[in-house]
Assembly symmetry: C2
Homo-oligomer: 204 residues x 2
């Protein structure tokens, strides 16, 4: 029984729909379906009733929902506490800009990052929407903006135009070597979350 399973459980319960939940979690339907099934296996009971129109919490699911919520909140608290004392972060992070920096409010991002993380060196490079993907794959960029979906697999996309932008769920980079950058990206995501822009934040 792992953290990600409980997160998935909550998301599916909240959305009442596996497909939508999978989208929010940046997961395929089948992967999420398997996660839930595996959790149900460990619990020993079904957590959802499979309806023709989606997933509805079962009796056991309703019973366990609050426990799952507190557990997930506690885990997230650990994460934020950890990130809170990471003020000694340092390093370089290359950000690709596909359009006018002022439109992307880069100055704002830069100053807020600089205030909070003086040792972090943000490097901004121009990168056309169509070039961003390959620059990410070539390790030239760590992260970048683009217009519209890329479709490239292995790259995590975040709509920053959507008001319900789930930046709590930006955990695409899991390999150990990138842990450092992961944290910075967490922070950048939280800065970049805004409602009125129609591009995508890319992360390999």
């Amino acid at each position: 029984m792992e953290f990600y399973q409980l997160q998935s459980f909550l998301t599916v319960a909240r959305e009442g729909n596996l497909t939508k939940a999978a989208g929010l979690l940046h997961l395929s339907q089948s992967a999420l379906s398997n996660q839930i099934k595996s959790l149900e296996g460990e619990v020993g009971t079904d957590l959802f009733q499979r309806m023709p129109r989606g997933m509805e919490l079962s009796f056991a699911g309703r019973k366990l929902l609050s426990h799952a919520e507190t557990a997930v909140r506690a885990m997230e608290d650990f994460g934020t506490a950890a990130r809170g004392l990471g003020d000694n972060l340092s390093g370089r992070l290359s950000v690709g800009l596909n359009t006018d920096p002022s439109f992307l409010r880069i100055a704002d991002l830069d100053s807020r990052m600089g205030a909070k993380f003086p040792l972090v060196d943000l490097e901004f490079l121009p990168s056309q929407t169509l070039a961003t993907t390959s620059l990410l794959n070539g390790e030239v960029l760590d992260v970048g903006f683009r217009f519209g979906k890329s479709g490239d697999n292995g790259i995590c996309e975040e709509w920053i135009a959507d008001s319900r932008f789930p930046f709590m769920h930006c955990y695409p980079v899991t390999n150990r070597e990138r842990c450092f950058k992961n944290q910075l990206l967490h922070i950048i995501f939280s800065f970049c979350c805004r409602k009125s822009v129609e591009f995508i934040f890319l992360l390999k």
Copy 2:
């Protein structure tokens, strides 16, 4: 950042010693070392000071300890709540006995299991200590007692002679098909935990 990492963090912090913690968690030194290092990577700071005599919590580690404790407790609460409503468990579980059932207090175990899980069919089979391992591997037994260590890899052993028997940590079976039996084994473990016996409970 996953549940097992926080459990490991707590155990190492409590023991102040990676080797001993690895034993309690049924893990190799190196695996645990990697877990801690990976967690430190995500957190962005060292959690321990590596002393010649063991691991000592760093400043950040002390700061995060309480958060980790509440998170782990919350996750465990979820697990116990889940197991609490699993009273409709049913199925068959084969238990190998290497010696006198009365010495193993099998009647006690059986009656308590029967009271709590009337649909669970416990099957007790004789199995010499030396035969138990192969019977487990041959899927004849699901679990069995033996004297002393087996040394067979892929089989999880639990000392039930030790008063500090960590039956909170019996999570060796992870593949999906065995989830059901996993739960029963959890329960059996909690029943079998006693202080004055000198054999080992085997679990493939």
